[in-house]
Symmetry: C2
Subunit: 364 residues, 2 copies
């Protein structure tokens, strides 16, 4: 591999393209709209890779990110986060240029948008299908109707449909059946809501997010659009959930060994919370902040090493090694680390290096 | 306060200056070198505030950060992280310009530095006084001597002294006596090592880090230099440890309310892992990812609100409210959040806004 100097987020473009291809093919086969979430990669260049697969609609998680991707020619963007009305000026500027889809969870926000936005925009009502983070209880038809009435009251507002993020799928561990159950529950809710509202809104769609259900589902029933994001890279959390194989993870942090402690079965690398952020996966003996792999001439091996990051400081990563293993490493060696949560790791790193040595920048 | 648009990291400059002043005064009174750690604020401008208090020596946590502060005229910098020898070219460029102090924990690294660095540099040997992250066991005199022999073998290498970071103080909760015990233990180790090595190295110093012990200690005994960093802002973790008062925390994130769920006693704000990073504090009923305060015309109130962030997604912060409290808030309101770990929060935000409305940039 090219010379490595400091902690570097390696990106295997071929794995990444393969992940995109599988998801794109699945949406084509099932005739659902593919609106990938770009919050994972946050990069113009990685975004362009999706165009080869026919993608022209995207999802982002903030207005700032919508602005960033609009600058690169994306003109149909869903901001999948409940509107912060203080951003109205930025929303107006975006709505003037592109087809902008926003998320509302209350009549108050719909009302404020009606008053403050001076260009046509589309609204999704977020539905809480079980994650209990944000969204409207699908059985709370009073609230749904109150929001719909506010949307209908303003000519610039058009109901696009209902949207959910099945984030409770992230609590599952290695159980595809449990993931499918969540997916089917959301499909049933989609069916009920579409039956109830399709006559009034013939064009309404139902949109789902989350990489676990989108990765595992074979059929999409009453779902019209999917918005997975993490699948572009996957990560060790997704392997633990059961969404993907270890071989599909497309990013790994290259970290230099800076100290070894064979008597503690530990190796210390430069690679800390400022490189990985700090999501962890509970293991029987404690938390893992990253799975350690060996780097190879052409990328990394997915062969089991028995090593994982057991704790992170701002710059230090402490690797747990198996007995008698740490003595095989010395300062200056490089190790790879598959992130627990690639979205947050990418967010703090702000740069990728492809295995071909190309530097890819991200939103700042 | 000035108009707020999106999640904004507010910086109370007066509290910050007061925190610096207290620590600077303590070092003057005790005749110890004040070499503050700049990894917390990572900002040229905040760094300049220290100059008013006579600071001309600093600590950083990476070579990149040393380069950033050297650009702003700092010319005596300790990189308090075990050397990654792959950065030798950058180290050579720095060593040519400034007084550079590096950290070694093995004879191998000292040897590599001797061979690869072509300008005079100073080395600290990191001592493990109980944190067990990196550093040499102070009783392992064979290893200490092996490192010292490598240092002595190369004319460009000078032993500056011994250095420790008492990071185990972070496990303490609200117990100043326990913090002082850690401090006194390190002082004893300083005494022993200085007795043993002062004849051979008459100028050697013993340097300690960590905000808890430096904040709580009244005397420094055999310690010659302190390197606290977090104290410049403090945070809610430091309050929990017992290092500072709530009123001393100098940063708060302003977050807009985007949804309320009175039936769940929850409020959702824009303010997620990309704003706070993801350190948490264990509370009896779960983890807190930030303490919620009310914003005022001139900053924030430290009056108890009973609210805290109970979970963070990439962009969402879910606030736990007390019974019947959530209904008092509506979308568009602003709340303040005192970070659990201000270093990591600053690192992901990359920008501060002072209470006077000035934007302060950081290292990118």
């Amino acid at each position: 591999m090219f010379p490595l100097i400091e902690p570097t987020l390696l990106l295997d473009k071929q794995k990444c393209l393969s992940n995109i291809s599988i998801m794109a093919e699945k949406t084509r086969k099932n005739n659902v709209i593919f609106r990938p979430h770009f919050k994972t990669h946050q990069s113009h260049e990685v975004g362009r890779w999706f165009r080869e697969f026919g993608v022209d609609k995207i999802t982002v998680s903030s207005v700032k990110m919508a602005e960033y991707f609009a600058q690169d020619g994306w003109n149909d963007i869903t901001v999948a986060f409940p509107v912060n009305i203080h951003e109205k000026d930025r929303l107006n500027r975006l709505a003037e240029k592109i087809s902008l889809n926003l998320l509302v969870v209350s009549p108050e926000t719909a009302e404020l948008l009606g008053k403050e936005i001076h260009h046509p925009i589309n609204l999704f009502i977020e539905i809480d299908t079980g994650y209990h983070r944000t969204g409207v209880d699908p059985e709370n038809t009073d609230l749904l109707d109150a929001i719909l009435n506010r949307i209908d009251a303003y000519p610039n507002l058009t109901l696009k449909g209902f949207l959910t993020h099945d984030g409770h799928s992230y609590k599952i561990r290695n159980d595809k059946k449990a993931i499918r159950n969540i997916h089917q529950n959301s499909s049933l809710i989609a069916n009920t809501l579409k039956k109830k509202y399709s006559q009034r809104y013939p064009d309404l769609i139902f949109s789902i997010g989350d990489t676990p259900t989108c990765s595992v589902a074979d059929s999409f029933y009453d779902i019209d659009e999917i918005r997975p994001g993490n699948f572009v890279f996957y990560d060790f959390m997704q392997v633990a959930i059961g969404s993907c194989a270890l071989e599909q993870i497309a990013v790994a942090m290259a970290c230099p060994v800076v100290a070894t402690y064979p008597e503690r079965n530990e190796i210390v690398v430069h690679g800390g919370a400022v490189h990985f952020s700090k999501d962890s996966l509970a293991l029987p003996n404690g938390n893992s902040f990253g799975k350690v792999v060996r780097l190879t001439e052409t990328g990394w091996s997915t062969e089991e090493t028995g090593m994982y990051i057991k704790s992170l400081s701002q710059e230090h990563g402490i690797i747990h090694a198996e007995k008698n293993q740490a003595k095989n490493f010395q300062v200056g060696n490089w190790l790879g680390v598959l992130p627990i949560h690639s979205c947050l790791t990418a967010d703090v790193m702000k740069t990728y290096k492809t295995l071909e040595g190309e530097t890819i920048t991200m939103m700042r």
